[in-house]
Symmetry: C2
Subunit: 137 residues, 2 copies
């Protein structure tokens, strides 16, 4: 698992046992996951440690947090462009109202929004709710 270790090192994250496990888990997901998802998906993990692990990941540009309107924060791995300097990938997120899954749509970028005079943008997030491809079949 040198691969995993290098991923962390590249983002200047100390590759501890716990963090390697968390990264491994995240790499296997196709949807954004909550802390509870991780807790259930991993053996013998403490919720708070998970919480702090993903927080560290987030601060180093390895994962991004997603607010899908459910009240439970979800997390997903970032595109390579993201660094410790910030998250530089402005893609749309999708929440399926049927299966309750949250997806990143990395190929769907958030369009430019022209703000009224005086406002200064720092971050933008766009969430679409609806039916995912699976649930529409």
């Amino acid at each position: 698992m040198k691969e995993l270790e290098n991923t962390l090192l590249e983002k200047q994250i100390n590759p501890t046992a716990m963090r390697l496990v968390v990264l491994d888990y995240l790499l296997k997901q196709t949807n954004a996951v909550s802390l509870t998802d991780m807790e259930l998906g991993l053996e013998k993990t403490d919720r708070v440690t998970l919480y702090r692990s993903v927080k560290t990941f987030e601060e180093h540009g390895l994962v991004h947090r997603i607010d899908d309107g459910t009240g439970t924060t979800k997390f997903a791995l970032c595109q390579p462009a993201c660094t410790v300097d910030g998250h530089h990938d402005l893609h749309v997120h999708f929440y399926c109202t049927n299966c309750s899954e949250t997806h990143c749509l990395p190929k769907t970028q958030i369009p430019e929004v022209k703000l009224p005079g005086g406002y200064e943008r720092q971050e933008t997030s766009l969430l679409v709710k609806g039916l995912c491809a699976e649930c529409r079949k």
Copy 2:
């Protein structure tokens, strides 16, 4: 205060004393407000009653809820276009990272987003975080 009463009646909301007070409060706000804001801004109110009042308002197209990423839901009055059939105003919301205020930007509509094949949209929300006009001065 026939005015207030009519506003409620137009949306087919029973104009109780409590609801008139809540509507009056909302009309005076320039920002979106949380339940706690209302609770503090009004005398002698029960949080749960407020909760249910705005819920009713929301269901009848009088207010809309705003998720500004803080974890605390905010509420604001709708544009006239909204009815009991649904909220028909897709404007951008803005959260100021300095003063922590949340604004509706009714003149800034959410642009079209083309979803990948198979996805079906039901709702769209767009949140911009940054500095508001006041805080940038």
